[in-house]
Amino acid sequence: MNSVNAAPSLANPAEKEAPLLEVDHLEVQFFTRRGTVQAVRQVSFSIERGETLGVVGESGSGKSVMAQTLLGLTELPGRITGGDVRWKGESLVHDASATLARVRGNEIAMIFQDPMTSLNPVFTIGTQISEVLRRHLGHTRKQALVRAAELLDLVGIANAAARVKQYPHELSGGMRQRVLIAMALACEPELLVADEPTTALDVTIQAQILDLIGDLQRELSLTVLLITHDLGVVAGLCNRVAVMYSGKLVELASADDLYANPAHPYSAGLLRSTPRLDVVMPRLVSIEGTPPDMISPPPGCPFAARCDLAVTECLEEMPGLHTYPDGRKVACWRAFEVGRG
């Protein structure tokens, strides 16, 4: 599952055999009274050290649910019902308590969508950052507070020494997201999972936070998994892009390839609905229709009902994820036919 298009300067040849993170035929289901929701269906991909992978899809595509399995955060009514997630070869799904205890917040860190509710309202910023350091690095209370202030400085919070004594409600949303990023970076993780880190923020703050993540990624050679519904966000940050639709991975390609020539009609639709600076577009086009009901998904391609190129085969049989000669993977009976119209 090597990525042909990963930035060569960052990829370490020695690590090529075992990817840093490997998601293998992952399945997550939600048990509800209406029926079983198939939130993630047979998703497989891997991340190499040093790369930035973007996972794109609309609400309900299963991307956030998938991200949470990486840290064993799946909660009822959700359950992992099949497949595996391997971190440097170790499972994070099966008998993983000990591994997770070591990995969480230490080797893999996560930042979440909503900075307003992600911090505990009754503890100071300093306490909440230093508890990670004390847990994983065995810092004393004093050491941890000093380091917490350094981390706040690193993520661009001015007057960090005073900020550690403040409570979350005394900070703005953008500030809180910076605090959460500082917290995630506390143990210098090998992988940073960012689940829609800017969705809840004002547009100007969004840009600042994305710049910050980009800077940190370069300075600290972080590996990043960025979950977003916004292809614009992916363009600036990611080497590779995974497109998810209705719980399935439909296209996995290098960012450049995807932008230049989307192979899956859904990727193309997403691209047409995203404003771009590099291509002159007469207008933004939205994708007609809605995603299928994930309690009883259609037997064929989940996108078929909304797809201009759909043929009978698309409605009847689910296309597999096929690897093409240029290295990209697409699950579509009519892959690469978008451009030809």
Binding site: A101, G105, Y167
Partner: protein, 307 residues
């Protein structure tokens, strides 16, 4: 903070004034304070003479003016049941016993309710949760006096571990305090449980798990501290009710000579000066407890501004 407390004290005074007017008016208008002061054989003239001495023939506003004046000197009249004693002295004679009872009862309630509630919240709908919730419901569904009799029958009559009634307080306080605590444990454990379930579903707990914190720290520090905010409010109410209500019942069952027992006796003997004194002292304690609850609340939740 100082200004806040001052304002709350003023509000408390309004409540106490309201309570005293209420008690004053209903005792004077509806009841007859002289009825029990004199022996049944006393003639109508003798009763009238006593009324005149006590100033009960004056109009209600004039009587209230005099009452308020006396109140300013902490003179609440003399008890008629405990003859010749100033009513306030009687109250302070009996109050410590009630405070012992409520204090031990509430201590047991806290020690019991938090672990039970946390345990139940760990797997909502699971076996442990259902057993504990049902037990809590049984505890809070039993009338307190019935629970008291069950405890008496079991531990005093059958097992003979304790004696009933007043005596060396260490041995005799246990059963009444337990009777005070058990329903409170039921009510408070349910509060802890649902508050913990709410907190465990929050985003910050998910973040704490993603940070790799131990289960013990997430439950015992992050979630419990937040769950403590509603808990403290309800514990305060529980204390207020124990003092101003449950103590009457529990002390009656166990013949525990506290203020609640005295309140029941004073009401049965229509000892109006004593009733007034008891109600006023209880109202003052309730006001002070309410202010303490707010301060505790502020200490637990940095978002709360006292204003």
């Amino acid at each position: 903070m100082g200004r806040y407390i001052a304002r709350r004290l003023v509000q408390g005074l309004v409540v106490i004034l309201g309570v005293s007017i209420f008690v004053f008016v209903i005792t004077r208008v509806v009841g007859d304070p002289v009825k029990f002061m004199l022996p049944l054989s006393a003639s109508a003239e003798e009763r009238d003479a006593r009324r005149e001495v006590l100033g009960l023939n004056d109009s209600i506003p004039i009587q209230f003016g005099r009452f308020a004046g006396d109140l300013a000197h902490l003179d609440l009249g003399e008890s008629t049941y405990v003859r010749g004693e100033p009513a306030l002295d009687v109250v302070f004679d009996y109050l410590p016993r009630t405070i012992q009872l409520v204090a031990l009862g509430m201590l047991l309630a806290v020690v019991g309710s938090i672990p039970l509630g946390v345990l139940a919240s760990r797997k909502p709908g699971g076996l442990v949760d259902r057993v504990l919730t049902t037990l809590s419901l049984i505890g809070l569904s039993m009338p307190q006096f019935f629970l008291g009799y069950i405890l008496l029958i079991a531990f005093t009559v059958k097992l003979q571990w304790f004696e009933s009634g007043p005596g060396p307080w260490r041995t005799h306080l246990v059963l009444p305090a337990l009777c005070m605590a058990l329903p409170a444990i039921g009510r408070l454990a349910i509060v802890v449980r649902s508050a913990m379930i709410d907190e465990l579903n929050t985003q910050y707990v998910k973040v704490a798990r993603a940070k790799g914190l131990s289960q013990r720290r997430i439950l015992g520090v992050h979630a419990l501290r937040n769950a403590g905010i509603p808990y403290v409010t309800l514990l305060g109410w529980e204390m207020i009710r124990a003092l101003a209500g449950y103590s009457v019942v529990v002390e009656s069952v166990f013949n525990w000579p506290g203020l609640g027992f005295m309140a029941k006796t004073a009401i049965q003997h229509q000892d109006f000066y004593l009733i007034q004194a008891i109600v006023l002292v209880v109202a003052v304690i309730v006001v002070l407890l309410n202010i303490s609850i707010d301060i505790a609340y502020k200490a637990l939740d940095p978002r709360v501004k006292l204003s």
